[in-house]
């Protein structure tokens, strides 16, 4: 559950709903289960993952429930209001938040832990891989400090 500007966004197992926080009026219902990890990147725009696959980034207007854009990739957070996703090849992409288009990209060797907060100018990321002998365990943790581009 996330509250943004008077709207309570409820993340159910098979869909996502937006309610007026004061009255409980259902404002919209989106037929896709989304992850509830990430705060809005800017204003009322929420950029999050498809809950089932974690391989599609979805930008949702929390007032209307409309999808502003969607594209392949796993959302890993945001920096200075720029949504960050990582693709299957582990390339990190900084996106235009209004269109979802690439602003820049940076290859990384392994998956990145999602960050719940906007990571700011000096972005710190941690990569990991799953232990083949124990797939629930992350190993080979590495930290990266990334000098981020300024947001256009």
């Amino acid at each position: 559950m996330i509250v943004v500007d008077g709207v309570a966004v409820i993340f159910d197992l098979d869909h996502t709903e937006g309610y007026a926080l004061d009255t409980g009026k259902l404002l919209w219902s989106h037929a896709q289960a989304l992850m509830n990890w990430f705060p809005p990147v800017s204003g009322n725009l929420l950029v999050t993952n498809d809950r089932r696959t974690s391989k599609e980034a979805v930008a949702l207007d929390v007032h209307s429930g409309t999808v502003a854009w969607r594209r392949p990739g796993a959302v890993i957070g945001s920096a200075q209001g720029t949504p960050l996703i990582q693709d299957d090849a582990h390339v990190l992409h900084g996106l235009d938040r209004t269109t979802g288009a690439d602003l820049w990209s940076l290859p990384l060797p392994e998956p990145v832990y999602p960050a719940k907060r906007d990571t700011g100018i000096s972005t710190l990321l941690t990569t990991f891989r799953l232990d083949p002998a124990n797939p629930s365990k992350a190993i080979n943790l590495r930290s990266y400090a990334i000098d981020m581009p300024s947001t256009p």
């Binding site: 559950m1 509250v3 309570a8 409820i10 993340f11 159910d12 197992l13 709903e17 309610y19 926080l21 004061d22 009255t23 409980g24 509830n36 090849a89 990190l92 900084g94 288009a101 690439d102 820049w104 990209s105 940076l106 290859p107 990384l108 060797p109 832990y113 960050a115 907060r117 990571t119 700011g120 100018i121 000096s122 710190l124 990321l125 941690t126 190993i139 080979n140 943790l141 590495r142 930290s143 990266y144 400090a145 990334i146 000098d147 981020m148 581009p149 300024s150 256009p152």
Partner: protein, 389 residues
Amino acid sequence: MTALEDLAATVVQVLAAAATGAGTGAAAIVGDLVRTRLAGSGQGQAVAEFEAAPQDPAAQAVLHAALVTVFTADQPFVVQVTASLPPTTSVPVARVVPAQSNSGEGITVQGNQNKVKGNFAGRDQFITNVRNGDVKTLAVLILVALVAAAAYGGRQLTAAPAPAVVPALPRIAWEAGPDEVGSPRGVVGTVAIFATEDSVGGRDSGTGKVLWTYRDGERRNRLYSTLDRATETVLVQGSGSVKALNPATGDAIWTYSIVDGSGTTGGGADMDLVGGTVYVCGFDTVAALVAATGQVLWTWRQPGPLPDIDSVETDGRTVIARTTVGGHATFFALDAEKGGDLWSETTPSMADTVTVVDGTVFLPAESGGTEIRTAATNTKRWQTRARTT
């Protein structure tokens, strides 16, 4: 040697060094990039020959030629490789290849008011010049952009005068690991704060050098930590105390001991920080402290002999403290300013948690949904069918 030939030579040098075991993670990234891109453009044989004999000048020359060919045709790849080179790689200014806008509306040198954030080491003077509005440096930047664009196919070289928007690319400033690096908490001043389950540490944000590490006793007790950006302190809660650490040194600025009703020190389960006040729970107690000084604003003890308070959450107006008893969870709502009791509620499952935000509390309902209540009064406003997640 042209800038692209020079860049290709640097890449070959980095990959040859990596083959001897002297490489870094960044070199591995460059290697992956080159391998993937060249394989996709019919130049995979050059990579194969190089990898078979990375120190062979002939194999290096073949890879160099292949890279120049691909660089010439693919400027985004140039940008990608340049951004991925190890930070210590010496790359002359002439290799600066600003990103090209992908808008299809001509070459745009992007950025912000002549401010450039570089993508390679040894760039500082150049950037300083640009930041200072040095005309020659700006001219070089724009010229290199145009040359790169011409090499890329001359697309819309005659576009309308590009706005003075200068691109900035990301780059890896440093990397650390593997393991024992912890999760990043953020940057305070020039110190990057990381935390593991039982430690908090500061690294120089520019170099990654470890400046200090804090652990809670020899038994390496579990630590909860958070960063207070307002006071620029690191708050850590270990066994029996909460401390505010100086992010530059790791030294304690203040310490608050958690004691139970009998005066025993210990415990410490959770804390939450809002608006310069840190709310701490341990044993049967919740305390509100000024994050900057450690001054105790109020303390609250739960009524009766109940299990310890195990979590605390606040929106700055209402504090919700949780305990579990008899297979249920019990929540105590407190006034955040003065610590007075507001209400309490027991929910069906001991796994239940609540969320409090903007004066509203979200409580699990017996029907399976979520009840939305006014946090100050516990008055139900509405209910969802779904459990909030």
